[in-house]
Amino acid sequence: MVWLRKNPEIAFISAWAVPGLAHFIMGRHKQGLVFLVFILALFISGAVMSDFKGVSPRFHPFTFYGQLCCGAPTILHLLLFGQPTADYFKGTISTYYDAGILYMMIAGLLNIVAIADALERTVKKRGHQIETKENEEKNGAKEGVESGGTSD
């Protein structure tokens, strides 16, 4: 699992696919749990408010791009409930439909915050590792020069 923690690419993909998964991989379980529970809760409440017809690349594509940032929940929602048909909008739709799709979009956008946090932490970790390696190399070189100087 250590190699997973060092890869920003893996962190990005896992954080996108399931909110909070990257933090779980990095060992930050509390933050991962908070991201998972609250982003999913926001997404599910949006889905309920829009009567499970809120994900639609055909009728509201820009909102869909925002929702897509949530990854697996959006794709699962699309696969399970499908897109609404044109007839759906001709009939009486939920009063909270707009609020629902907005909540789902906000869940996606909040997941971007979680993704950015996961990426920052992996990059920082990687940067810290590179720095410590460089310092060790410098120190090693210095010690070598000093020991070489004393031997002469």
């Binding site: 509390k30 908070v34 609250f38 909040l110 915050v113 946090d117």
Partner: protein, 61 residues
């Protein structure tokens, strides 16, 4: 009843919006929820104040 459920959902969603940015900064559950509650209350007060201002403007204009 439906309105009550929707209102609770709305409040939960608003709280969730406050919790996620707090989780980025803080480490423990206590700190996260403390900060989230603070920002949630601040947001609620701001919205309340704004709605009162708008109502006053509508009353006089």
């Amino acid at each position: 009843m439906e309105l009550l459920i929707r209102t609770i959902l709305f409040l939960c969603a608003c709280y969730a919006i406050c919790v996620v940015p707090a989780a980025v900064r803080e480490e423990t559950f206590k700190e996260i929820f403390k900060k989230a509650t603070k920002s949630f209350i601040l947001t609620a007060v701001c919205i309340f104040a704004l709605s009162i201002i708008v109502a006053i403007i509508h009353a006089f204009v």
